[in-house]
């Protein structure tokens, strides 16, 4: 009895030890062959599970999306133009409500793209992108001629590369009313500034250190689509002489939707020692201030002497990075069957950003402290209502 019981207990223990758990396959999205629409759907749906960083705040019911679209993709049994049109429409519908305002789908075989945040804006306002006289007309015909003091204007343009695209960096600096330092730059590619734009930044940051009696600083980020993160410290780090936190970021910390890393402080470090600017620092924003322009806006907003004047920004505050860096963000599906570019490229943030006070502005934009926007009537009357509001604020402080 004793021996048999001991034997039974030992066998039971061995049975328990031999019980292996069956873990579902959670493959890298690039491991899906992509040789059918149902497989592309599975790759995309799972890729979003793992790589999309806003699941904790996004209201899209991704499980319901799976249940609804799986049978629809199952009906697309061959690759042809008719099914491709349907498939692209399904992918659009699946992602139409996502809040990531960097988010863009690129269908590599057709070249079609879909940007949910842009689509939503254009649905409510077809004139959304053109609904501003900033920047070209305002910069060329008003700010550089009527606002910046004669003799202080420095401006230039250089070719740069942003996100593998060739573009240009335009920068303008000078003084307004002989005591307000003004800086405009068209995007965050300052590390690529060359012969024509380097003098603009040199002028601005030298004046910041040496010009007596500065009553205010204006950084004009209207129409700025963002760019390189390194410029954040370069711009804001020269306005302070001690580091400060202005928010937090977090990225994916595992394959499930709510697996996150801890919040990491977003910190501005003084650039080359920096300069403590005590005068008001005003950032001008509009509905096209995007990405790094918004991060920079929030960094200035966190300063005790920082102010945001203009209109609500675009709402793409999640930083971008290659997928492998943070195990999340942009990804491509269908490479085994479709080649290096794959079938579908998903451009999405690698991290989410939270402002110092806990607010997350992804999809909603950073609201201004003081609302102001340029109007055609004011422009015709040689006035930039936004810059006027900044000057008025600085004079009052």
């Amino acid at each position: 009895m004793k021996k048999s019981s001991l034997l039974a207990l030992s066998l039971f223990s061995l049975f328990l030890v031999s019980c292996h758990k069956n873990l579902p396959d959670a493959a890298n999205v690039q491991d899906y062959p992509g040789n059918s629409y149902p497989d592309l759907f599975e790759a995309f749906w799972n890729g979003m599970n793992t790589n999309y960083v806003f699941w904790s705040i996004d209201t899209t019911d991704w499980d319901a999306v799976y249940t609804h679209y799986k049978p629809l993709f199952a009906q697309l049994t061959t690759f042809d133009s008719n099914n491709e049109t349907k498939a692209e429409q399904y992918f659009r519908e699946m992602t139409a409500g996502l809040i990531d305002s960097h988010y863009t789908l690129t269908f590599e075989s057709t070249g079609n793209t879909f940007d949910p945040s842009l689509s939503r804006r254009l649905t409510t306002d077809t004139n959304y992108l053109a609904d501003s006289i900033f920047p070209a007309r305002l910069l060329n015909n008003l700010i550089s001629t009527s606002y910046i003091d004669s003799g202080s204007l420095v401006m230039g343009s250089d070719p740069v590369t942003l996100g593998n695209s060739n573009t240009s960096l335009t920068a303008i600096a000078g003084t307004v009313h002989h005591s307000i330092l003004y800086l405009y730059f068209s995007n965050f590619s300052i590390s690529q500034a060359a012969a024509h734009t380097t003098p603009v930044f040199n002028y601005f940051f030298s004046a910041l250190q040496s010009m007596p009696g500065i009553t205010g600083v204006v950084i004009d980020l209207r129409g700025n689509p963002g760019g390189e993160v390194i410029d954040l410290d370069y711009v804001v780090g020269q306005l302070v002489n001690t580091q400060f936190a202005f928010g937090y970021t977090r990225s994916k910390g595992g394959p499930n939707r709510l697996d996150y890393t801890p919040w990491t402080p977003a910190i501005i470090k003084p650039w080359n020692g920096g300069t403590k600017v005590t005068a008001p620092i005003v950032v001008l924003t509009d509905h096209l201030s995007t990405s790094m322009a918004e991060i920079t806006t929030l960094a200035v907003k966190a300063l005790p002497n920082g102010k945001v004047i203009g209109t609500r920004t675009w709402g793409a505050t999640g930083p971008l990075a290659p997928n492998v860096y943070y195990n999340g963000g942009e990804f491509t599906i269908g490479t085994p069957y479709w080649g290096n570019n794959g079938y579908l490229f998903t451009y999405t943030s690698a991290a989410m950003f939270k402002y110092l006070n806990g607010d997350i502005y992804e999809g909603v934009g950073v609201p201004p402290d003081i609302y102001a926007r340029e109007t055609q009537a004011a422009f015709d009357n040689s006035h930039d209502m936004v810059l006027d509001a900044a000057i008025q604020y600085i004079k009052a402080h």
């Binding site: 019981s5 207990l9 873990l23 493959a27 793992t50 595992g254 394959p255 499930n256 470090k269």
Partner: protein, 237 residues
């Protein structure tokens, strides 16, 4: 009246035929997270060591069979590490569980030295959680632009953290599983017994509640080694 009856029952069982033992047990654990990284680049999970201490209570049915229980605290830690270009990025999760096992214990051998095998089930409550590690700070690139960084932490400054983990609604704080162990005991005198034990604990419930389709589960799988002592309550009281 009810309390009095329970006390009398307990007193009788100690001084009656039943043989109650209780004691202390302490040791170390090495826990592994059974999961997948979902294709995480150069990312793996590794085992991590922890501590455990228990207050075992044992009721000896006869000279070879006993029923064992008792409350204990057990750490089930694990590490996530990245390698290659991502070397230096890591996180250790230190999780403490309040654990209550119920298991059968079969002993064999001589009068003084005995071997034992035991197995059973347990329930546990995820009591404490702490995370420590280094992650790349996406908004903190290094000041000198490195065109060809050899490591992620060269391109982005690392953020070192050591903080309490904030539980959320997705965390499954109640864990059930099975456990088994083998050990050797030495009867020091009629009151005291010393023992050395190796154990294996396997959770059958995951660390996360089910909240999505195709969810990757995360199970604890824990090896332990401990030493302890048991007192024969009949001779102690």
């Amino acid at each position: 009246m009810k309390k009095c009856a329970i006390f009398l029952l307990f007193f009788y069982s100690i001084h009656g035929n039943g043989q109650w033992y209780a004691g202390f047990e302490a040791g170390g654990t090495r826990n592994f997270l059974i999961t997948t990284t979902g294709g995480g680049s150069f990312t793996s999970y590794q085992g991590a060591t922890g501590i455990a201490f228990d207050i075992p209570v044992l009721f000896r049915v006869n000279d070879w069979l006993a029923i064992e229980s008792g409350a204990g605290f057990e750490q089930k830690n694990y590490r996530m590490v990245r390698s290659g270009f991502f070397q230096g990025v890591w996180q250790q999760n230190s999780n403490g569980y309040l654990q209550l096992p119920l298991q059968g214990n079969c002993s064999f051998g001589g009068k003084k030295i005995k071997g034992f095998v035991k197995t059973g089930v347990y329930g546990a409550y995820w009591l404490t959680a702490r995370i420590k590690g280094t992650s790349p700070n996406i908004l903190s690139p290094t000041d000198t632009t490195t065109l060809n960084p050899t490591a992620l932490l060269e391109a982005n400054n690392g953020y070192n953290y050591n903080q309490r983990y904030s539980f959320s609604t997705k965390d499954n704080r109640v864990e059930f599983g099975w456990l088994t162990g083998v050990g050797i005991s030495y009867q020091l005198n009629r009151l005291t017994c010393l023992f050395l034990e190796g154990s294996y604990t396997s959770a059958i419930t995951g660390q996360q509640k089910k909240y999505q389709l195709n969810q990757t589960p995360r199970y604890n799988s824990t090896y332990g080694i401990s030493i302890g002592t048991l007192f024969h309550l009949k001779h102690l009281l």
